[in-house]
Symmetry: C2
Subunit: 200 residues, 2 copies
């Protein structure tokens, strides 16, 4: 390799490698894709990047991503304003909306409390959530953080903060994933599934 | 999902999904990465894309990628000009250069003959290769196209074209990959490995 250096190509691969889930090989593949784009296709790609980056920001109420002042859920007149579902990430909102089951509001924390990674409560959108608790319509907060150590800790932290205000705090059910196989379920999940069993 | 649409975000995910090896989930992940970049990081990314796209083109001799008139290999004074190694893709040149074994020249076809995908000889950098055959120093052409049906067909097509000119045409050896396991080698590879066996 000593003899072969094309600086702009190396710089391109370097930039692409920084992206999550993109290793060196994938970055090379993407680089060749980009080099083979027509001039107008490249323009479309870079201007979409710039436009999205410029226009998208946090919703002033729920901290989800939006290009408006309020996100579509917060702006909607048909959503149930008595429930807020607290999630870690905007992608979780997309996942829940896809189900078409939930009609309440959301709150996006943009992460979890994780002392090991140096993420404390102040680094998350928690103060924005606290502000919303004074709404007299609000009856329930559903903790829908991920079932990981950090997700659990964050749910616990928030429920201790919110419960004293007389608002009901719930957590998503744990159990066997539908379509899953008992044989492959881990012990903690099985224990939780037993604990959470219901009359049929 | 009916209620949740953020147009610039959807457009961004759409653009990213067009890239090779990037599915919908990866595109979403990349989109959030891009939205979280600082303004100057985004500028660095887009300008690297634009710079690479603008500056990088084919070497006027071997069709490899370069930002100069000649690629580093063609411009080098220490390379053996009696051998040309014909490859499908610029990445193959990188792979061979990494080995530090080969000191000859390269020729990049930018694809293989593939009638099913509508790629004929005229769509590849074959005329550029033919031009190089009149060099009196040239003694050997090594066909290093991939061991696929298209790679083989392209190697055959080129060797029929070149052999009548009195230039030696060789093909990379087939066999068991070093560190591989006989048990997992396919039949064709095993047959080729037997055929290509050598005195030890």
């Amino acid at each position: 390799m000593a003899s072969y250096h094309v600086v702009p190509l190396e710089r391109l691969v370097e930039q692409l490698e920084k992206m999550p889930g993109i290793g060196h090989k994938s970055a090379q593949r993407l680089a060749y894709y980009i080099l083979n784009l027509k001039a107008e296709e490249l323009k479309a790609l870079t201007s979409t990047l710039e436009e999205a980056h410029e226009k998208i920001h946090y919703c002033s109420v729920c901290c989800n991503l939006t290009d408006q002042e309020l996100c579509p859920v917060c702006a909607s007149e048909t959503r149930d304003r008595s429930v807020i579902c607290v999630v870690e990430d905007p992608r979780d909102v997309f996942a829940l909306e896809r189900v078409n089951e939930y009609n309440g509001l959301y709150h996006v924390l943009h992460g979890t409390i994780s002392p090991l990674s140096g993420v404390g409560p102040d680094d998350l959108c928690i103060s924005e959530l606290i502000k919303r608790l004074s709404d007299p319509n609000l009856k329930e907060i559903i903790m829908a953080t991920n079932p990981t150590i950090e997700g659990e800790a964050t749910a616990m932290y928030l429920s201790r903060l919110i419960k004293p205000m007389g608002i009901r705090v719930t957590r998503l059910a744990y159990g066997i994933p539908v379509g899953g196989d008992l044989e492959y379920a881990d012990e903690v999940t099985l224990t939780r599934a037993m604990e959470g069993r219901r009359e049929i």
